[in-house]
Symmetry: C2
Subunit: 336 residues, 2 copies
């Protein structure tokens, strides 16, 4: 479902937070805050993740100069059972709060909904924050760290990262000009260590629907960035897009491959998690737009809609992909 | 955050599904479908819950006469880890899908967001579906049924229920005229067997903010229905509202107390769950509006933002409450 914003909201401010590996990776210098112990002064990994959301949102609010007048509305989500990282991360702000679950697609989902609220005029500004933490995710989805589980080459690493964004009806800079809501797609993948392959069909589906409905093709965008498909999923998407007549070339990249240095850091197929795409957007893509290196990008959050129980029960892993189109100017999808 | 819909969407169709106890309760005759074995032809409780969502949504789409043209957009949520009941419940519809997590407040949250999409014109119609299942919730949040765990009197019973709603920009009948997004409130309750008390402060907060911002008082509404506060929470809300000058009298009721017959059915403090308020809205409140018995109601979804892990780690249980105002005519909150 394509949403063309009649009065596109602007991304007024943004902030990113990461852990040790994210700081040591190629985007470390772009982080607003990091903790090389991944603990963020908390005594559980779950609280550490909440603290990352709290920090990212605080920094974004401060950058927007909104300490005295908080955003009207907040969207947040994460991967932890019942989204408690978000609950405890945003509690102290006392901002009206709508919780989301779109697995790792939540960063794009939250931007899309925040943009809609601002465009509708019901909110002057709205915040979106998402997070993931390697240690809380490992013990929930796989094994506690102490177990020392081994991972196959197709496995991805949940990023210890958070990104927060403030959208506003007034201002200049980067605009969310349009967006597309994803359809859940099930390709029959049931291997929880190969989520890139599980999510890739949804990304291909959303991108091809988007190109058709907007009557554009990949060459009209400076960059096309999926959220966390990693090495496997990125390869699949590139192959399918090319076969379908939408060869994206080198402009198609994946946040899960940008967040770490695959050669130097042992991250298997790349990064993943609600915080991965949010951090790459806030620590790399939006700064590059501000520097003029990018002017017109597609940001596609990708989510694997599974739980440990659904995998244990032999269910397949449906994927979903929500797309957000971000332009330096309100050009509505055409390059300047 | 009060949202006044300039062009209020209409609830074009709705449907409800329940299990054995819900059918045997006072609202059984209002259900569109029930299964007295609670299995819904599925071989796991989790799949049974998905099947309830699928059935409720199918029935609502059929009642809306939309079999050939599906809704533009779908909001869904549930209580199960990573919301897999929703994922597998809505997968076959192939409708653009935004997943939500608001604990038991999700029915109201999904109505609010569906209403916004329709009002904004980005969707001609939007669907909202939520569910809960006693057996999937028990083994996830407490113990597998086989354990035979005992529950204290303040504990509530997760309803085996689902409700689906189709909102549209065109039509007559029941309109969503305005809504209020809740703020997460933490009263320090950490007893997972007393979630009514944990959610009550958020309900009081949302209701009092709503009365202040709309400059109305409880006597202007035919009915005020919280989602699943049960006996404990209902009593607390009534007491606090009265002390704050908003005595709601008998018009204030709770869906968790309406869904079962407390005297005849051994349900302790009442029903709860994402499906509880959705089913009561679809099996009782909206039918009563169509019959002219109600014309102007406040529906307040109430959620306890906790997980088994957060409770085990000693965290408190914040609550949240989202309000949706439903009128027989587009009167914007005043009784006819």
């Amino acid at each position: 479902m394509l949403i063309r914003f009649k009065n596109p909201p602007v991304i007024r401010a943004y902030a990113s937070v990461g852990g040790k590996e994210e700081y040591e990776g190629p985007l470390g210098a772009g982080l607003d805050f990091h903790d090389s112990e991944n603990r963020f002064s908390a005594d559980t990994w779950e609280k550490a993740e909440s603290e990352m959301q709290r920090t990212a949102l605080s920094l974004a609010i401060a950058k927007a100069g909104m300490e005295s007048k908080k955003p009207d509305l907040l969207f947040a989500g994460d991967l932890i059972n019942q989204c408690t990282s978000s609950t405890f991360g945003v509690l102290d702000f006392e901002i009206p709060f709508l919780g989301l679950f779109g697995a790792c697609s939540t960063a794009a989902e939250s931007l899309l909904l925040a943009a809609l609220f601002v465009e509708s005029g019901h909110a002057k500004n709205a915040a979106a924050v998402t997070s993931s933490h390697f240690c809380s995710a490992e013990r929930q989805f796989r094994f506690p760290l102490e177990y020392g589980g081994q991972r196959p080459p197709t496995a991805q690493r949940t990023a210890t990262a958070s990104g927060a964004f403030i959208l506003s009806g007034e201002g200049q800079g980067m605009f969310v000009t349009d967006a597309m809501v994803g359809i859940a797609r099930d390709a029959g993948i049931s291997d929880a260590n190969n989520m890139g392959a599980a999510m890739a069909p949804a990304a291909v589906d959303t991108l091809t629907r988007y190109f058709r409905e907007t009557e554009t093709n990949p060459s009209e965008y400076d960059g096309i960035f999926t959220g966390d498909l990693g090495f496997e999923g990125h390869r699949i998407v590139k192959k399918f897009l090319t076969e379908l007549g939408y060869d994206p070339g080198e402009r198609y990249q994946d946040c899960g491959l940008l967040i770490y240095n695959r050669g130097m850091q042992d991250m298997h197929a790349g990064g993943s998690g609600c915080g991965c795409s949010a951090m790459v957007l806030a620590a790399k893509l939006l700064p590059e737009m501000e520097k003029g290196e990018l002017t017109n990008i597609l940001f596609i959050g990708t989510g694997a809609l599974m739980s440990p129980a659904s995998v244990q029960q032999g269910e397949s892993i449906p994927g979903i992909a929500h797309l957000v189109h971000i332009c330096w100017e309100k050009k509505g999808g055409k390059r300047s």
